[in-house]
């Protein structure tokens, strides 16, 4: 009996040799998503990612709220990187409404974004460590993350969901002793980062396990449209902060970290090295920042975008985040599309896991810098 199945549904053929594993959503190594993995012995023959367990319809919700009301809920997809996911939205709305941002606010935004990038990468690194069975690498970054959370708390008043960036600048000015405190903590953090190198990245067992596994070539990285650390680990020198500098990134002194190997080890190392660059950016921005001045251009109440559209992108901890905002003379955006790095890197998962050993699955999966909540939006 053959029934015509509706599009989007399919029947599955079963093979005796092949075992289907549901990695997730209640698997300790999956996050809020499911990987349907078929294994033949220890080798993965196919992988079908099934995200959507935390789909919240942020894009739909944004169509019902005005430009200011959209701020807090749009940062929810990645609360650990909330400044970076709000950044392109603010840039886009500023372009739509034609708002100029004060110079000091631009620097503060960059500092907030870089602090938040460190917070995110540390969280990611912690989970990467525990996925590979390295419990110390879970505890250390999770503890050092507090440094930046405290700084962000001093800046914005909230520990995780800051909603600090707003169209037109930042919500409030820095506290009085912020600069000195920030420099002190960043200096301490740079010292700690070097210890991570000793215990984790130069660990022979880690290298044996991740080097040469899940190789993504440069051509494939471009063809699959990957972004962020995955792209840079494959030897493509692309960072939105360098290529399309927003706010004051062009004045600041930093480098793009690129590695050529394209394996799990390189993918795990790129975000780590980027934290050094983030520290450099923070220090440089604190030096170059105007010491006083306005931090927020006051918006008109309930502002309306023209009959226009805008696409702005920034570099987040997981790659480029692009906001496509369509407005139609209403206080609410007509359509907001968030193109996030996690979602764009998801396509690598079936590609990279095919033919890998099951033991490589956590390293490849988490090496993609994939944040399920962000990918689902």
């Amino acid at each position: 009996m053959t029934t015509q199945l509706p599009p989007g549904m399919h029947l599955e053929t079963v093979d005796d040799k092949i075992m289907t594993l549901n990695v997730g959503p209640q698997h300790p190594g999956s996050g809020h998503m499911r990987l349907i993995i078929k294994v033949d012995g220890d080798y993965i023959v196919s992988c079908d990612p099934d995200p959507g367990y935390v789909h919240r319809g942020e894009e739909k919700m944004a169509e019902y709220r005005n430009y200011i009301q959209n701020i807090p809920h749009l940062e929810r997809p990645v609360i650990h990187d909330s400044s970076n996911i709000l950044y392109p939205y603010c840039l886009g709305v500023e372009e739509l409404l034609g708002i100029e941002v004060p110079e000091r606010a631009k620097y503060i935004r960059v500092i907030a974004a870089e602090l938040n990038r460190c917070v995110y990468i540390l969280y990611w690194l912690a989970i990467y460590g525990i996925f590979l069975g390295h419990s110390t690498m879970f505890m250390w970054p999770a503890g050092d993350r507090e440094l930046f959370i405290d700084l962000l708390e001093a800046m914005s008043g909230a520990r995780v969901t800051h909603a600090y960036l707003v169209p037109g600048g930042v919500r409030n000015d820095l506290p009085s002793n912020f600069e000195e405190r920030c420099l002190r903590q960043v200096a301490y953090f740079e010292k700690r980062l070097k210890e991570y190198e000793d215990i984790f990245y130069q660990n022979p067992l880690l290298k044996a396990r991740t080097e040469g596994s899940g190789i993504l070539s440069r051509t494939d990285a471009i063809r699959l449209g990957t972004t962020g650390s995955v792209l840079r680990a494959s030897g493509v020198d692309f960072d939105v902060r360098k290529k399309e500098p927003y706010d004051v990134y062009e004045n600041l002194d930093f480098q793009t970290v690129v590695m050529k190997e394209g394996d799990s080890y390189a993918r795990s190392r790129i975000p780590y090295l980027e934290m050094f660059e983030s520290c450099r950016i923070i220090k440089d921005a604190l030096k170059k920042m105007p010491k006083s001045g306005s931090v927020r251009t006051k918006l008109k109440p309930n502002p309306k975008g023209g009959n226009d559209e805008v696409y702005r992108r920034v570099e987040s901890g997981r790659g480029a985040i692009g906001y496509y905002i369509v407005s139609n003379n209403r206080p609410e955006p007509y359509r907001v599309k968030i193109s996030v790095g996690s979602f764009r890197n998801l396509i690598c998962m079936p590609y990279l896991l095919k033919g890998e050993k099951l033991g490589n699955m956590p390293a490849v999966y988490w090496g993609l810098n994939y944040w399920p909540v962000e990918a689902d939006r």
Binding site: H27, G133, S135, M139, L205, A208, L358
Partner: protein
């Protein structure tokens, strides 16, 4: 008026207590006492201080200290005491429990946290008890399609095998539960049981994760058992005995680790694989296969597996000490029992009490135990350390390590031992013996 028992009356409560006492006394005197006497009739009673240990005397031991100690001493030398308390299960379980606590605090210090802190007021020393009670009070869930008898049997078999392993470890001269002449072969035989138990329970649980975990456990343990056995042959060749107590006695002057260090290193690495500890905790690799072959265990069944694992940890550390670190051998540091307590008794003011039967343990035994425990705890700490430092390896790397590198090293170790033996340096009739 209590909300828990709204019908509570104090008078009825007291009455029920008396009721209870009455029935207990009645049943004990009518049923319990006759049973005790019937049992005692068939048991061969020991002779203490020239008197036969009659039930009457045994009932009065609490009143007369001069009878107490001989009875206790007599009990200490029974087999049941050895199995249950001292070199056997109780001692090992106590050390295992201490190990769990030390592991948690030790790992916490490495990871810049505090570990258990609140339970028990002082640095969370009662945390373990709390965890034990939690595990005991939890529901045991059996998967619907599991092979139930084998699934139930799994944890019991595991603890049983671990206990059998513990029983072979000599702690002090003469203090060992089982002392067969082929002690080391018995150890290999017991170790050989663990992969079978893992595969049985993994298959019986009828889950994909346990199945993969069980197969991993099987592959890994078999791959590491052969280097384990080979690495210990060097010691057997040099000491000329398979009896663990004799191996310890052969190390009175020098430890075997000084002559066969490669064997010690290989054995130390295989311990991790056999114990499924990081970096070889592949059968329980959390992020890959949930909890491996332990996935479906819950409540006290899981608790038993944990107990067995830590008993195994103690036994392996003890075996390492026995084979390579000289077992109970060590300088005499335990003070001798004061002679005038034995001859004159204790004088407090006008009262002089004499305790026949002292000392309970002789000096050699206490000193041996002390050294054994110190060495074992050191080895256990070394076994715990990599958990904070290493990530998990991959299955193919683990198997490659076991089948190629460790076996090669173990053979080199055997050649070194044979060379030392035939060069006449060591062994029976050697230069240093």
């Amino acid at each position: 008026m209590s909300t828990i028992a709204p019908q509570f009356r104090l008078s009825r409560f007291i009455a029920s207590l008396f009721d209870l006492i009455f029935w207990v006394l009645l049943i004990f005197s009518l049923v319990g006492l006759p049973i005790v006497f019937i049992i005692l009739f068939y048991i061969k009673l020991p002779i203490i201080n020239g008197q036969l240990m009659t039930p009457y005397l045994s009932m009065t031991w609490m009143a007369d200290p001069s009878r107490t100690l001989p009875i206790v001493k007599n009990f200490i030398h029974t087999t049941i005491f050895r199995v249950m308390v001292f070199p056997g299960f109780g001692f090992a379980a106590l050390l295992a429990a201490a190990t769990i606590f030390v592991e948690r605090k030790f790992l916490a210090k490495i990871q810049l946290r505090v570990g258990p802190l609140y339970c028990g007021k002082i640095e969370g020393i009662l945390q373990l008890m709390g965890d034990g009670f939690k595990l005991m009070s939890k529901e045991i869930i059996i998967p619907a399609k599991a092979d139930k008898p084998i699934f139930w049997m799994g944890p019991l078999l595991f603890v049983g095998a671990a206990g059998a392993f513990v029983s072979l470890i000599p702690v002090a001269p003469g203090w060992v539960v089982a002392n067969p002449n082929v002690g080391l072969l018995a150890v290999f035989a017991v170790i050989g049981f663990f992969p079978i138990i893992a595969v049985l329970t993994a298959w019986a649980a009828n889950s994909k994760w346990t199945f993969i975990g069980g197969l991993r456990a099987l592959h890994q343990m078999v791959a590491f058992e052969i280097p384990l056995i080979l690495s210990l042959l060097g010691v057997v060749i040099l000491s000329g005995s398979l009896n663990l107590s004799q191996i310890v006695e052969s190390q009175q002057h020098f430890w075997w680790i000084t002559f066969v260090p490669i064997g010690a290193i290989v054995f130390f690495i295989t311990i991790f694989a056999e114990l499924e500890r990081i970096p070889f905790d592949l059968p329980e690799a959390e992020s890959e296969i949930v909890a491996g072959w332990l996935t479906e265990f819950s409540g006290m069944m899981y608790g038993l597996i944990q107990l067995g694992t830590y008993l195994k940890l103690y036994a392996f550390a003890g075996l390492f000490v026995v084979l390579f670190l000289g077992g109970w051998n060590g300088p005499m540091v335990w003070p001798p029992f004061p002679q005038d307590i034995i001859t004159n008794g204790i004088t407090i003011g006008p009262v002089t009490a004499k305790f026949p039967g002292l000392p309970l343990f002789d000096q050699q035994m206490l000193n041996g135990t002390l050294w054994f425990v110190i060495k074992t705890v050191g080895v256990i700490l070394l076994i715990l350390l990599p958990r904070g430092v290493f990530p998990r390896v991959r299955m193919d790397i683990a198997l490659h390590t076991g089948w190629y590198k460790l076996i090669g090293l173990a053979f080199i170790n055997i050649f070194i031992a044979l060379g030392l033996l035939y060069a006449g340096v060591l062994g029976p009739g050697g230069l240093l013996q």
